[in-house]
Amino acid sequence: MAALIRRYGTGLTGIIIALTTFWLIVLVILPYFDLFESSFRPYLPAADVGGPKDVYSLSNYITIFQNPAEFNIGLFGFTFPISVAIHMWVFVLTILFSVLTTLTSLVLCYPLAYYMAKVIDPKRLSTFLLLLVVPMWVSELLRAFAWFILLAFKGPLTIVLQNLGIITDPIHWTWGLGGFSGVIVTLVYVYILFMLFPIYNSMTSLDTNQLEAAQDLGAKSWQTHWRVVVPHCKPGIASGCVTVFMLAVGSLLVPTLLSSPSSRWFTEVIYSRMFDENDWNGGAAYAFILLFVCTIFVSLTMRLFKVGLADIAK
């Protein structure tokens, strides 16, 4: 603060601080607070707002546990029906498949990042990076649409696989519970760089001599990765995982294009409460459930793997 004043003078410092405060309070805190407050109030006709029926309650939140429905779960060849609240079910699947999206990206990105940071000839790296980044200049919508077309029922992918003799019957990539494959493939494609770059960054800071030292002391390749590379890159891996998980859970565009009524994403439920039913209070409540549960989930996972928030910020 004192340093700011010394540098820019009282007037300019005042303006900077005023603008920052305005941005923070009016554009960030207030809208959230308004949404948060309204999530505890019932959805009422305009005439009743502020009336005797407009009282605070948890009812918007509780609806997630209501309206049970029968679902069939197939596990190890057995199929058994369970009865869960519809929204709860969508919520659980969203978290589950977001985790799967995150893990898939991780599995794809770790070797790629290692290759880029430690194997590839540095002269060719810039070309390589360009090839990775250029597709990301296309809008998310178009990229999602590309997969929408590729994965269409009896679409290009199915035709290619059929001609290669890998499958005989066409697959519903975007239908049913298996229909999540379309969402996952596209989410991975759309958000993969958010996984790649943090891991790549942490790997470039790893001294190559460490790898050779491990190898020299008798470590096999996997041992070197497990004991030296992964611990070093843990902050980058965590950062990539948190980002991709949060983006996947919160994505609306991709599931809108690539899911079906039986493979819905929780954001679609929030959207439909807000815009189809016009119930902003209920939508807000669901949005906060998603936010809180995901935050807790991420913190617990980070605790489990012993990564601090400060590590990620590095």
């Binding site: 050779e212 190898q215 002391l217 008798g218 041992q223 030296v228």
Partner: protein, 363 residues
């Protein structure tokens, strides 16, 4: 546990650049062997070929008479100490030391015990649970040595391990390394660009220049009978004179004709230079006829305690240096005085110039 190391016609090319050129050397079991040379001459490349990180373009590396072709670094009986030590920063000292044992599936209590023993061996007890970042440079050095010894290598490879330490500590660690080598009787291959280190520690030294070995010998011979101009210039100081051999024992230069001793392979046709070490120069007011003498003007005398360096110029303006042992009864000549420097024929070496000599002067 110890083994010989042999390089047979080893050549290493990086693209079109030849980093190591047809190196032949046999290092005996339990020997302390140094490669000495200016930076970029291919020392690290040799070490990396012995440890298995790179395969030679041509030639063979043998350890204990076994050809190492196709054997990976994790399967060779070598352990390397890296120039920057490469300790694992996320592991404690004892985990670092026990890393090699962990990779071999040794159980934790045994590993811990062995790590403690090795810490004793390198005289660094009580730091097992600290991290490398909490240790001083010299302590880190010892941890790196202990970590390498833990895998019971037959050959230790050390890549300028002392270069990051300050002078005092470096002197101390020299003796320490030598003692550890004697105690364990492991073959040490030591790399350095510091001639003092190489001469003080090694049983034998190989002097290298631009990928080629110039001379392999015991330290005394490297210093006293250098094989060529490069070795003489790289190891120790010299007064140098360009000239021409006139008879088998006479060398003519621009400051006179001197009686000399011929180095390896010197003939009347070869390009040569005359080398005289500063400590072999003496002073005489009136030299007898027939002795090697050069008239010189004293420019500066620096008194270093046990000896004094005397800087002079001859009549052509060439700088000459003499080193005189401290002796109050025989003081160095006064600054500004004219004197004659003299030297014996046995101490005046005529050595072959090679491309390498020109290279050493550029350094």
């Amino acid at each position: 546990m110890t083994a010989s190391v042999e390089l047979r016609g080893v050549t290493m090319d990086f693209g079109t650049y030849r980093a190591v050129d047809n190196v032949d050397v046999k290092i005996e079991p339990g020997e302390f062997f140094s490669f000495l040379g200016p930076s970029g001459c291919g020392k690290t490349t040799i070490l990396r070929m012995v440890s298995g990180f790179i395969e030679p373009t041509k030639g063979d590396v043998l350890i204990g008479d076994q050809n190492m072709k196709g054997i990976g670094p994790n399967k060779r009986p070598t352990a390397m100490i890296f120039q920057n030590l490469a300790l694992f920063p996320l592991m404690t000292v004892w985990e670092n030391i026990a890393f090699g044992l962990e990779m071999r599936g040794v159980d934790k209590p045994t590993r811990r015990k062995r790590a403690e023993e090795l810490l004793e061996l390198v005289e660094l007890p009580g730091v097992a649970d600290r991290f490398a970042s909490q240790l001083s440079g010299g302590q880190r050095q010892r941890v790196a040595i202990a970590r390498a010894l833990a895998v019971e290598p037959k050959v230790m490879l050390l890549d300028e391990p002392l270069s990051a330490l300050d002078l005092k500590l470096r002197q101390h660690m020299r003796a320490e390394l030598r003692a550890i080598q004697k105690r364990t009787n492991v073959t040490f291959i030591y790399i350095t660009h510091d001639q003092g280190e190489a001469l003080a520690m090694s049983d034998r030294v190989a002097v290298m220049s631009r990928g080629e070995i110039q001379q392999i010998d015991v330290p005394q011979n490297i210093y006293n009978t250098p094989a060529n101009g490069f070795v003489a210039s790289f190891v120790g100081e010299n007064n140098k004179f360009v000239g021409q051999l006139t008879s088998s024992k006479k060398y003519k230069t621009d400051v006179g004709e001197f009686a000399v001793t011929l180095g390896q392979g010197v003939t009347a046709q070869s390009k040569t230079r005359l080398y005289v070490r500063p400590e072999h120069v003496t002073f005489t007011a009136k030299p007898k006829a027939g002795t090697n003498a050069i008239a010189a003007h004293v420019e500066d005398v620096s008194f270093e305690g046990n000896f004094a360096s005397i800087h002079m110029r001859d009549k052509t303006g060439r700088r000459l240096t003499a080193e005189l042992r401290n002796d109050p009864t025989n003081p160095p000549p006064a600054v500004g005085s004219a004197t004659n420097v003299t030297f014996d024929a046995e101490k005046a070496l005529v050595l072959l110039d090679s491309d390498a000599t020109a290279y050493a002067e550029k350094e």
